[in-house]
């Protein structure tokens, strides 16, 4: 895929109220820099992250989704962050079947004290998505919905090429 240095990825970030949102806040107060590509949305817990939110973000044109929560064992609601982990893992498998690179969904643990760590993770993700290139899902979703253009000759050519490749 393209490696466009001018491409600025749009990343939607879901942060937990009790840890990672505060980590992002801490990064801000401590003047730790991270790229402005991520748009943070605060949830009460990473366990509130409905996979629908992630799919909606992609369908709406986001290039990546970051989910952040408290470290395992430190969840404000006991173990909802483990639920977030399981959902994220299953979601990665599912979106891969849609042809979306699983790296476009990332789960990061960050306690309220880990502003620097979170800033690093955001920077890292932005660069990773930049390397992957734009996702541009609205264009994929609209693919050839109502084309009335004939299939043709191209189809035959393609098939022949495939056979050669296979042989």
């Amino acid at each position: 895929m393209m490696n466009n240095e001018n491409f600025e990825p749009v990343i939607i970030g879901f942060t937990c109220n009790w840890c990672s949102y505060r980590a992002a806040d801490l990064a801000g107060t401590a003047r730790v820099k991270y790229p402005p590509n991520v748009r943070l949305i605060r949830l009460m817990c990473s366990g509130r992250m409905d996979p629908t939110f992630v799919l909606q973000a992609f369908a709406g044109g986001a290039d990546g989704v970051l989910i952040t929560g408290c470290h395992p064992g430190e969840c404000h609601y006991l173990e909802q962050n483990l639920k977030a982990l399981r959902r994220t893992m299953l979601l990665k498998r599912t979106v891969a079947q849609f042809g979306i690179e699983p790296e476009r969904v990332r789960l990061v643990w960050a306690s309220a004290a880990e502003g620097v760590h979170l800033a690093h993770m955001i920077t890292d993700m932005v660069e990773e998505i930049r390397a992957l290139g734009p996702l541009n899902w609205p264009q994929v979703a609209a693919l050839n919905g109502n084309s009335h253009v004939p299939v043709l000759k191209k189809a035959a050519t393609v098939s022949e090429e495939k056979v050669e490749v296979a042989a």
Binding site: R87, F98, G99, I100, A141, V151, K154
Partner: protein, 356 residues
């Protein structure tokens, strides 16, 4: 209404299997009442009317048109527009017309790959000249045209305005009859129809509400495909690890599948307010995985979860078995080899879009 004063009834199948038509006939002796009340003016499976007859009708001539089947090709789309124009009330009848259903699973691959498999690669195919269907073929007598297959399968409401939706694969006969009674009451006694856009012939609660099994806390240590396990009688299938879409599926069917040991497949679609049935089911399934403790090492936790998830075959195909056209993502991004793969296809090989 016409000469004999009866309201006009039409039914059409686009990209579908014919099960919806059978389900209508399964209303039993009520079909005689339907015949008594309605004048059938178009129903390819049951009556000999041609497309040209429909084109000849005045606009809005058909009082009730049940449209089943997804929009897969140009013929389906043309008929959707035609029947919209000729019908007063157009109903998306059954899962295909409502949300894509099984035909829309094709949205996980490409038209090119489907043609390749069906006409060239399938072991039972004998096609030495590698002939693929052509929309236009020149023969000595002139040109032969067939409908053009689309890249993406759509639901009826993604092509034309739809008045009502009757979900199900197929809709259950008792629900069909209940809806027909409402329509008949409206036509004969002037009773009120439900608000436009309503999902009729179904419930506002999940399949689990109708299911006979008692439910307790679910903790799953591995998933089973239907052939891998004989269900224990009287126990919630999901609790046994058998994939059941009940929690994320609209009820109204009477929870028929779980009662005979087959997990709900999700054919009545999502509940109201839910944007994406697959995402809801994904969320539920991930929630009930019973392994892992908060004290565990993070990598260890992931490994535990991976092991359980490895037993869940084809998550996307399972979660979106019926609702692909209505899903938030609509279709997969497909590379030249027809597989939904994140990796880009190598330049210059087979990444050619046919329909452009």
């Amino acid at each position: 209404m016409s000469e004999n004063g009866k309201p006009k009834f039409g039914m059409y199948w686009a990209s579908s299997c014919g099960g919806c038509e059978i389900s209508v006939l399964n209303i039993g002796e009520h079909i005689l009442t339907v015949d008594e009340i309605f004048d059938v003016v178009f129903w390819p499976v049951a009556a000999d009317f041609k497309y040209k007859d429909v084109r000849g009708y005045p606009d809005g001539y058909i009082d009730l048109c049940l449209f089943n089947g997804a929009i897969r090709n140009s013929e389906n789309e043309e008929m959707a527009h035609l029947l919209r124009q000729k019908s007063k009330v157009l109903v998306a009848f059954g899962s295909c017309a409502y949300e894509g259903c099984i035909p829309a699973l094709a949205n996980f691959t490409s038209k090119e790959a489907i043609l390749q498999t069906v006409f060239l690669d399938s072991p039972s195919v004998d096609n030495p000249d590698r002939v693929l269907p052509q929309p236009v073929t020149a023969v000595p007598e002139g040109e032969i045209r067939i409908p053009e297959m689309y890249e993406t399968v759509k639901s009826l409401d993604q092509v034309v305005d739809v008045d009502y939706i009757i979900p199900g694969c197929p809709p259950e006969p008792h629900q069909i009859w209940a809806v027909l009674q409402v329509v008949v009451a409206a036509l004969t006694e002037g009773a009120e129809l439900p608000p436009k856009g309503s999902i009729v012939g179904a419930q506002e609660t999940a399949v689990c509400e109708e299911c006979i099994y008692p439910k307790s806390e679910k903790k799953i240590f591995r998933f089973y495909r239907p052939y891998e396990k004989v269900p224990e009688p009287g126990v919630c299938l999901l609790e046994q690890g058998i994939v059941c879409m009940g929690p994320a599926t609209r009820g109204g069917c009477g929870a028929l599948c779980p009662q005979v040991g087959m997990g709900c497949r999700g054919c009545y679609g999502p509940l109201g307010e839910v944007k994406d049935q697959g995402a809801r089911m994904l969320s539920a399934m991930a929630s009930v995985i019973g392994v892992g403790e908060p004290e565990m090492d993070e990598r260890m936790l992931e490994r535990e979860f991976e092991t359980v998830m490895d037993t869940l075959a084809d998550p996307a195909g399972t979660f979106y078995r019926f609702s692909m056209s209505h899903s938030l993502l609509r279709r997969a991004k497909v590379n030249g080899n027809g597989h939904a793969e994140p990796e880009p296809a190598e330049a210059g090989t087979t990444n050619v879009e046919m329909a452009n």
